[in-house]
């Protein structure tokens, strides 16, 4: 069983942005979802865990070793898929994977080749292995990304917004690949897509403005909201009035009508009807808590 503990982690950038604000989290095998709006500090946290930047204070202990002091320790067991990565032009998928395999320390040429080919096969890129990666479509590129993250049998995999920009089919395919991987190792999935977390993760945390707002199992968050979620269709200009009166969680258009959802322990009346909460509602509820 792998264990990653983050204790009181802080990071402030040169321009004054507090990217990580006293975060404490714990991860074990399985998929962990980091949910948060754009600019919440997810990427900063991931880069810090991956040893790409060092925190101002706090510790990150991976399997008993403080990787702030020894980032190489985690890098040797890490698979990292950054949010938006490019590739070198004019280099084939096979060659680029081989290069990264070498960087990850797979020095035995035979094993390396075997692993690269297996992975290419796994992500269904085998028949494109001789093609240049920068000519790949978005989905293929993401699959290449997951292949490279899997190189060298990592014990922890960090994936940052992996399904952004993928079509639904690609996204499904990608998620099933991720869920397979997540059985025996730690997989940290950073995303702003609540659905992905719901389908994949056993544990999750919600982050905003560099701080952890909530941490737990998705189902617990949903259960917490059960019986407290109410919905109603209103006119657009009524929003301010409702906002004042109720604890609004979300507004969304549905077939031309504006639906609002509010959180309330008791039935608010006023034509609101109770509905079954989803993870998305829980997420918005958490985000709104600090407002």
């Amino acid at each position: 069983m792998n264990r990653l503990q983050i204790n009181n982690l802080n990071k402030t950038y040169g321009n004054g942005t507090k990217a990580i604000n006293n975060i404490t989290l714990e991860f074990t095998n399985g998929m962990f979802g980091l949910l948060g709006p754009n600019g919440a500090g997810k990427s900063s946290l991931m880069k810090t865990i991956a040893g790409l930047q060092s925190p101002d204070s706090g510790s990150i202990i991976f399997n008993g070793t403080d990787i702030v002091k020894d980032p190489l320790f985690i890098k040797k067991q890490l698979g990292f898929l950054p949010q938006d990565f490019g590739v070198y032009p004019k280099i084939s998928a096979y060659d680029l994977l081989t290069h990264l395999a070498v960087l990850k320390g797979l020095t035995n040429a035979k094993e390396r080749k075997e692993q690269v080919l297996t992975l290419l096969n796994k992500v269904n890129l085998y028949s494109f292995r001789k093609k240049e990666v920068h000519t790949f479509s978005g989905g293929m590129r993401q699959r290449f990304g997951i292949a490279q993250a899997l190189l060298g049998s990592p014990q922890i995999i960090i994936v940052d917004e992996p399904t952004a920009g993928l079509d639904p089919e690609e996204r499904n395919r990608f998620n099933s690949l991720l869920s397979e991987i997540g059985e025996n190792i730690i997989v940290i999935l950073s995303t702003h897509l609540v659905d992905d977390v719901k389908t994949l993760c056993t544990e999750m945390a919600v982050i905003d403005k560099g701080a952890v707002l909530a941490c737990g199992k998705p189902i617990d968050f949903i259960n917490e909201l059960d019986g407290k979620l109410w919905q109603k269709s209103i006119a657009k200009n009524e929003i301010p009035a409702y906002e004042e009166k109720y604890q609004m969680i979300s507004t969304q258009f549905n077939m031309g009508k504006l639906n609002i959802r509010i959180q309330s322990n008791d039935n608010p009346g006023n034509e609101f009807e109770g509905i079954k909460p989803g993870l998305e509602d829980a997420y918005f509820s958490i985000l709104n808590r600090i407002k």
């Binding site: 890098k75 320390g105 692993q115 479509s137």
Partner: protein
């Protein structure tokens, strides 16, 4: 559009970094202004308008740099920021967009160059009070700024912008910059300007072509100002007319055409390369499980991991660099540039014949020219591969791997090193191809190995330093600027001006000599070690930078740092063992001390050397020799001598020295010693002087050209290093400013032509024994008395049969020998076995010269004529004559391919010229050391040379030679003050050689060759040793004696004045006269006397002139017309239609515009 442009400007003018950059530009220009002092000649000011125009023109090379840098930033901004799709989708008009972008690039580049020119002017202004500077004049700077700076910025901006828009590839923009630079350099090679370092006279076609094609206009400027006088160079502004105007207009036109074409072709579209079509596919969802497929990672040894990482990075970077079109273009550019340089090195222009394409010549051309270009390429690629990961946005993935950053760093260094080796090998292959092309297939691997040692190694060191800078500086462009500046000042020839200590020059390639005879000589090991030293320093920096983390360092790197420090010190000590810093101030101080202490001896009687017996032991393998000499000195004056000033040469070690007079010995210890004699040396009395001294040189200090004791092919003008007596005025400081600083008064003037004659006869008898290593033959002067071998050394004894001047030399090499005899005289050629090609021809020409000189001038005074080849390490002459021996350098004569083309028979010229020195030089007559003395040596030898060319090749060849020398005279005369031939000073070689040849030709045409020879025979008869030393007017008097008085004025025009003619067309026409054509030739024929500084005085002119009528069918007819009072008017009936006329086709007059045809107006 205005808004667009303002936006572009604002991007720069709101950044503090940009102001910093501008400040850097100004500061470096101030630095350039104070440090680059071009001294064209002593008579042209260092800030003369001509010099400023030339320097700013030359520096406008920077426009390429500025416009390339701005183009890559301004034009690729949107693409780099991935903003291009949004921009292209706006309704912006193509014209506005492109125009604003172009104006931004152009204006920013021109701003930078203007600041540079300003800084340069400030730099020069700071020196204005120094000697050699004239008053500051702003317009002298503004004009070249516009003529060169503005137009060249326009050109380079237009070309790089066009390429940028059409290719949409940043690398292509850099390559274009490189190509413009290459084009510029190539045109300068063929500009034939005496100002270019390698400037050899080029053919008129080549000069015109380079003047037309030079995109930077400098070649055209050179051509336009060829005939300028010193005064014009000091005062006149740029003449915007003729070829220069055409060139400038042409460049502007080309710039606008290229922009116009680009505007037409450009479209707002995102380029999809043909072969990069996006791939997408539909696949079946994989159901196999991932878990368990991958075997867990086995821990591998760390060195192995580092090594494979290193290899993988290197492989991937190399693939990236080489698999691109710009790389291919760079190869082509390099090959083109080097081809032109090598071609220029083989074909030496119109003056010299083709050289053999030896490996040495190829290697030298590569070493000289490849390094700087490759440095630019390395700077670019270093920047590119360091930032590639980040630019491709791949750095997060790469950095999240456990790969070691040291491996990453070293892989970049190895990548660049491989690229350097690749380019070097490519250049060497080019050299070999040239060798095959020119049928000289002897490959000398030592020479080519030198290319690797002297260019690849320093480049690898520079690459390491560049990468270190990038590692330290985390900003891409700042890193590029700082690394560029660093290598500019530490790794280029520019840097060698500032780095005074030789150890600091470890990145600068040894740019010295290569000789077939001596290879790189001692320089090989010294400079080889210097580069190893540099490599140690680079390694030290690299390890220090990559391993030192938070002031902690691991044991292994620490140990290697210590080892490196030890190695560095050890090598430094090894290199510096014999280093003696050049200290100009100390030298000048010593000169001033000498003058102050000893100038009194100038007017005191001093003894003359009448006999020297000497032993010279050469140790070629040690670059050393020992000399023992005994002189007999005599008081040849009519006063008693009480004290004697003894002078030893610089750089030698005096082992012992003394004067023995009667039974008294006076020991001498110091370089300059005054001996007070107890009993005076009375007139006619003799004394003995004996000495032992030795000499050694180390490669770190460089060798002296005329004291070159080498492993093979040594040559020493050895008499220069023998002790002498009396005051040496040659030792005086020349600079007026320095003389003033030391309170020295005026220097010893050159004796004027009308000063009283000096009757001293100072010839001596010489007996020398030379010993050398057992494989070598030593060549001295006079007759070889005997030779023997003792103790594994070869001994040679040379004696002069009759007295000779105090001027002798020796050479020593592993020679092959070929002999012939002519009328009882032995002709011997000593040459390097590889250089056999011209030996027979030399023997033949020696016989012809001997025959001509003996018949026309008098008997040859020795039994033997020896020609000895010496290595190219001796420079400064092609051949030099001593009593019975002529030394010739390998690269001019023995290695010239005289059979190749153009009848440039340098052997004929030099055999004639040098052998003639045995009559006209220092064997039979010794011209008195005063104004015009070269007229009795070089002028007469040029004449002999020409007469021999006539004998061997006929009058057509004579005309070619005369035309060429006239061109060289006219081309060089505008740089220094000119004297009439009878007063010529030795430094004006264009007068003593080129003008002399033309004048002697005109003299022979005027009074006949026989009469010239008669006068020469008389000169020899009346002035040969032991008679008085002749002066130049003695020859004029001999000429008067053999000619009618009516000729004397014309002789004076040739020798005693600077006479120039100007013939110009005034309405020359042709009309039909029955079946014939009537040609009316009308023109003015002016004659001027010049004062040497360009001031002309017109004088009346009446004479007869030849005119060649050129017909449309190619026929020619020569008629002689008379000129009366500067007017030329005649009617000639001809049967065919004339096309043009050529006045004075046989060059009987010196005209500023030689060979210009007159246009004929036709009334038909």
């Amino acid at each position: 559009m205005k808004a667009l442009l303002q936006f572009e400007w604002r991007t720069y003018f709101t950044k503090p970094g940009f102001y910093f950059f501008l400040l850097l530009v100004i500061l470096s220009a101030v630095f350039a202004g104070t440090n680059f002092r071009v001294s064209i000649s002593p008579d042209v000011f260092k800030n003369a308008p001509y010099v400023i125009a030339y320097m700013l023109g030359f520096m406008s090379l920077l426009c390429i740099f500025f416009s390339t840098v701005f183009a890559t930033q301004v034009l690729f901004k949107e693409k780099d920021a991935n903003f291009n799709l949004i921009l292209y989708a706006t309704p912006i008009r193509k014209k506005d967009y492109l125009t604003s972008k172009f104006i931004a690039v152009f204006s920013l580049s021109f701003l930078c160059f203007t600041l540079f020119a300003t800084g340069f002017a400030i730099g020069q202004l700071m020196l204005i009070s120094k000697s050699g500077y004239t008053d500051f004049n702003l317009s002298f700077y503004v004009q070249p700024l516009l003529v060169f700076g503005l137009i060249n910025t326009l050109f380079s901006s237009a070309i790089v912008c066009s390429v940028a828009w059409l290719s949409k590839n940043k690398l292509m923009v850099y390559v274009t910059g490189l190509f413009i630079y290459i084009l510029y350099m190539v045109t300068l090679i063929f500009s034939g300007s005496p100002l270019m370092a390698k400037g050899m006279p080029q053919s008129a076609t080549a000069v015109l072509l380079s003047a037309s094609l030079d995109p930077f206009g400098l070649s055209a400027y050179f051509l336009q100002t060829t005939t300028w006088t010193v005064v014009q160079r000091n005062t006149a502004s740029i003449p915007l007319s003729g070829i220069l105007l055409l060139n400038r207009l042409g460049v502007i036109l080309v710039s606008f055409l290229s922009l116009f074409g680009t505007f037409k072709l450009f479209s707002f579209s995102v380029r999809e390369k043909r072969n990069t079509k996006k791939i997408s596919e539909k696949i079946e969802l994989s159901v196999a499980s991932v878990g368990g497929v991958l075997s867990p990672l086995k821990p591998s040894q760390s060195w192995r991991r580092h090594l494979t990482t290193l290899c993988s990075f290197t492989k991937i970077d190399l693939k990236y660099i080489t698999k691109s079109i710009p790389f291919l273009l760079t190869c082509i550019g390099l090959l083109f540039y080097l081809s032109m340089e090598i071609y220029g090195a083989i074909e030496k222009g119109v003056r010299l014949p083709q050289k053999y394409a030896t490996s040495g010549l190829m290697a030298k051309a590569i070493i000289e020219n490849f390094h700087a270009l490759c440095l630019i390429i390395i700077l670019y690629y270093a920047n590119e591969i360091v930032w590639r990961s980040r630019n491709s946005n791949f750095h997060l993935i790469e950095n999240a791997t456990p790969a070691n950053s040291t491996s990453l760093f070293f892989s970049k260094w190895i990548t660049l090193s491989i690229i350097i080796f690749f380019f070097t090998t490519l250049m060497i292959l080019l050299g070999i191809v040239f060798q095959m092309q020119y049928h000289y297939p002897h490959i000398d691997w030592q020479a080519y190995a030198g290319v690797y040692l002297f260019t690849s190694f320093p480049l690898i060191i520079s690459a390491g330093i560049i990468l270190t800078i990038h590692k330290l500086i985390k900003y891409k462009h700042v890193g590029l600027i700082i690394s560029s500046a660093t290598v500019l000042f530490t790794a280029t020839s520019l840097g060698s001006n500032f780095l005074s200590h030789p150890l600091l020059k470890f990145q600068i390639p040894y740019n010295g000599l290569y000789s077939d005879i001596n290879g790189f000589g001692s320089y090989l090991s010294t400079f080889g070690w210097l580069h190893v030293f540099g490599l140690c320093i680079a390694f030290f920096l690299v390890i220090f930078i990559t391993q030192l983390k938070k002031f902690r360092i691991k044991l292994l790197p620490l140990l290697s740092l210590i080892v490196l420090v030890v190695c560095t010190f050890w090598i430094a000590l090894k290199i510096m063992k014999d280093y003696k810093p050049k200290n100009m101030e100390a030298t000048i101080l010593a000169q001033s001390e000498y003058e102050k202490k000893y100038r009194g001896f100038q007017n005191q009687p001093q003894p003359t050397v009448i006999d020297i017996v000497t032993t010279i032991d050469l140790f070629p393998e040690k670059n050393a020799y020992n000399i023992a000499a005994t002189y007999i000195i005599k008081n040849k004056t009519n006063k008693p001598i009480d004290s004697i000033l003894v002078n030893f040469a610089d750089r030698i070690t005096i082992n012992e020295a003394s004067i023995i007079k009667g039974n008294k010995t006076y020991p001498i210890k110091n370089q300059y010693t005054v001996i007070q004699l107890k009993n005076s040396l009375l007139p006619g009395d003799t004394a003995q002087f004996s000495t032992k001294f030795s000499y050694y040189w180390a490669a770190i200090n460089g060798h002296q050209s005329f004291n070159a004791i080498l492993q093979n092919g040594s040559f020493m003008r050895i008499s220069r290093y023998y002790p002498t007596f009396g005051y040496l005025s040659d030792n005086e400081i020349e600079s007026e400013v320095d003389r003033k600083n030391f309170n020295l008064g005026s220097a010893t003037p050159l004796v004027t032509i009308d000063a009283p004659k000096n009757n001293a006869n100072d010839f001596l008898n010489l007996d020398m024994i030379i010993s050398t290593s057992n494989k070598q033959t030593a060549i001295g002067v006079g007759e070889l008395e005997k030779k023997w071998e003792t103790g594994n050394r070869n001994y040679f004894q040379y004696k002069t049969p009759s007295p000779v001047p105090f001027r002798f030399a020796i050479s020593s090499a592993e020679y092959a020998i070929k002999k012939a005899s002519y009328k009882g005289k032995n002709i011997e050629v000593y040459y390097h076995p590889l250089h056999y090609q011209n030996v027979d021809h030399l023997l033949k020409n020696a016989q012809l010269t001997l025959e001509y000189c003996e018949i026309n001038f008098g008997a040859y005074p020795f039994k033997t004529i020896r020609f000895a080849e010496v290595s190219a390490f001796t420079r400064g002459f092609a051949a030099t004559a001593y009593p019975a021996t002529i030394y010739m350098t390998e690269n001019v004569i023995f290695n010239a391919n005289i059979g190749a083309d153009k009848n440039q028979d340098v052997i004929n010229e030099l055999a004639g010229h040098e052998l003639a020195h045995l009559w006209w030089g220092n064997s039979q007559i010794a011209p008195d050391n005063r104004e015009g003395n070269v007229m009795l040596t070089e002028t007469l030898c040029m004449y002999t040379e020409l007469m021999l060319a006539k004998k061997m090749y006929g009058t057509k060849r004579v005309m070619e030679i005369v035309d060429m020398h006239l061109g060289m005279y006219l081309g060089d005369r505008g740089f220094t003050e000119e004297q009439p031939l009878i007063k010529t000073i030795p430094s004006n070689v264009h007068l003593s050689y080129s003008k002399s040849l033309v004048v002697m030709y005109q003299l022979a045409e005027m009074i006949g060759e026989e009469n010239v020879n008669l006068a020469l025979r008389q000169l020899l008869k009346n002035h040969a040793y032991p008679k008085t030393h002749p002066i130049s007017t003695d020859f004029i008097n001999e000429l008067y004696a053999v000619t009618d008085t009516s000729m004397h004025l014309k002789i004076d025009d040739l020798f005693k004045r600077i006479t120039l003619y100007d013939f110009s067309n005034k309405n020359t026409m042709v009309k039909k006269a029955g079946a014939q054509y009537e040609l009316s030739i009308n023109g003015t024929a002016n004659k001027y006397y010049e004062d040497g500084k360009g001031e002309k005085t017109k004088t009346s002119f009446s004479d007869s002139i030849d005119v060649t009528i050129l017909f449309k069918n190619g026929n020619e007819k020569i008629v002689t017309l008379s000129v009366v009072n500067n007017k030329m008017s005649a009617k000639v009936l001809v049967t065919e239609m004339p096309k043009a006329i050529l006045v004075d086709p046989k060059v009987k007059f010196i005209k500023l515009e030689n060979g210009k045809e007159w246009f004929i107006e036709s009334s038909l």
